[in-house]
């Protein structure tokens, strides 16, 4: 139904979308996830030309909407959008919000439009609010009205731009249940959302957008359970990471400590965890000390919010050797301490790098 090829969009000097090519078929429910500012909303807004693409082509049911001769408003009537900030028409009652489009654009009679709108309001559970005005409704109610308003135009596809992002948690579920219902009824939808569980439940395709392209796409199982690409994984597990490079034996212990402390503060880690981390790093560096003039060491901290695990990876160049090998150590004091603060220590040689992966004991 929608065929997008090489879509690009720049705002001034900022290139938000680089090269997006994708096809959306009838009946599909697509979730679009990704970090903020990566162009998810822009992508959605380009589909109905709310934002004008800088390049590429978009064909909807065969109609090239970028062609100046196409009747874009007409195409839009079959495609509707639900916004993060609801955007209900303030001067009209709920009923009038719903009937405005059908009466003025589709030529329906007042009676028919009202009847249909009433049915839709019942569907979203807001029949008794038909005569209310938008400023009398809660956020969740407003969004449900917005969805009903979209439905009133009998669209072939509905675009959702972060429909629940502006709602407080108590109202999110009422809106999500409406969207679920729509999906069940077979409506084609493209949803930009941060609600991972919901996206997983309701969609049959997930796009992970990053770096201005559709970085990775697949079924919910593929993306959520088994992300292939690095950034996808990071995003899915909501991993926060920190990297420090040691290039000489004259590294500044305290400077590094300061950075590590900042990282810990950002992730709101317990004091104990922080102490143990600093200890671990210091002990490791003591062990590495004699070798630092001949190899490069990268220390990567990765904290998975989801799993609440702090992983510390020491990656170093040089010949394939596990420097924690008991046989190589001058004394085992350092190693004992290291073993005391970690859950597991794993050595691997990958490519031309040695990798020691440790998981810190939780506080």
């Amino acid at each position: 139904m929608i065929k997008i090829e090489h879509l690009s969009k720049r705002f001034g000097n900022l290139e938000v979308l680089k090269d997006v090519s994708v096809e959306i078929k009838t009946g599909e429910v697509i979730s679009i996830i990704g970090p903020s500012g990566t162009g998810k909303s822009t992508f959605l807004r380009c589909i109905n030309l709310l934002d004008h693409p800088s390049g590429g082509s978009i064909r909807i049911d065969g109609v090239d909407i970028m062609d100046p001769k196409s009747d874009v408003p007409k195409v839009r009537q079959k495609m509707n959008m639900v916004f993060q900030s609801f955007n209900l028409f303030f001067h009209l009652s709920v009923m009038d919000n719903l009937t405005l489009g059908p009466i003025k654009l589709l030529g329906m009679s007042q009676q028919d439009a009202e009847r249909k709108s009433m049915d839709l309001l019942k569907l979203v559970g807001l029949a008794e609010k038909a005569e209310s005005y938008p400023d009398e409704l809660s956020g969740g109610q407003k969004q449900r009205v917005a969805i009903a308003r979209c439905m009133a135009m009998d669209p072939k596809i509905i675009l959702f731009d972060e429909p629940t992002s502006a709602l407080d948690p108590t109202m999110v579920s009422e809106v999500l249940s409406v969207i679920r219902r729509l999906a069940k009824d077979g409506m084609t939808m493209a949803i930009v959302t941060h609600e991972m569980d919901f996206a997983r439940d309701v969609s049959n395709r997930v796009f992970y957008m990053d770096e201005g392209v559709i970085y990775e796409e697949g079924t919910p199982e593929q993306i959520f359970d088994n992300p292939q690409k690095e950034k996808t994984k990071t995003f899915i597990n909501r991993i926060r990471s920190f990297c420090y490079h040691i290039t000489s034996p004259d590294y500044d212990l305290y400077a590094m400590n300061a950075e590590i402390e900042m990282f810990c503060e950002k992730q709101i880690l317990a004091v104990k965890t922080r102490q143990n981390l600093l200890l671990l790093v210091e002990e490791m560096l003591q062990i590495f000390n004699p070798f630092l003039s001949s190899l490069l060491l990268d220390i990567v901290l990765a904290y998975s919010e989801k799993k609440e695990i702090l992983e510390v990876v020491f990656e170093y160049t040089g010949e394939s050797v596990n420097l924690l090998d008991k046989n190589l150590l001058a004394d085992e004091l350092g190693l004992t301490i290291i073993q005391g603060v970690t859950e597991s220590i794993d050595y691997r040689h990958m490519g031309n790098k040695n990798r020691l992966t440790m998981i810190l004991k939780s506080a």
């Binding site: 305290y254 200890l279 004091l333």
Partner: protein
């Protein structure tokens, strides 16, 4: 930008490291009380060792090390402690540790050092034990 700020921060901390470990000496009748405050790590341990060696050279042989205000100790600190203890034993002196608690205690436990030294709950108790 961030690196610049951090470098500045580290310089500031370096400035502080001059006071990142402090040693207070108090002469008691039974022994010399050495109060170590701050961190005993790879950077500060050498200083500690140097100071204690000086005291030993001055003729002190009975030491009580007060860990009340020590926040952090690593293997480097433990090694320094061990080295000075060996020296003291060599002069037929005694070294007792007091007020080891919290994270520092845990490190002692993990590393097994908890059993090497006599540990006391207070300076007073250590002093009476050193007589």
């Amino acid at each position: 930008m961030r690196n610049v700020a951090l470098t500045r921060l580290s310089h500031f901390i370096k400035f502080l490291t001059i006071t990142y470990m402090t040693i207070e000496i108090k002469k008691e009748s039974a022994a010399l009380v050495v109060k170590v405050a701050g961190r005993l790590d790879a950077v500060t341990a050498p200083e500690y060792e140097k100071k204690v060696n000086e005291l030993i050279a001055d003729g002190e042989i009975n030491f009580v090390v007060d860990f009340e205000q020590l926040e952090y100790i690593s293997s480097a600190g433990l090694r320094a402690l061990l080295a000075t203890a060996k020296r003291i034993k060599g002069k037929s002196g005694k070294i007792l540790l007091a007020n080891i608690k919290g994270g520092v205690k845990e490190v002692f436990d993990i590393s097994g050092f908890g059993t090497i030294f006599p540990m006391h709950d207070s300076v007073a108790s250590a002093l009476s034990a050193s007589v």
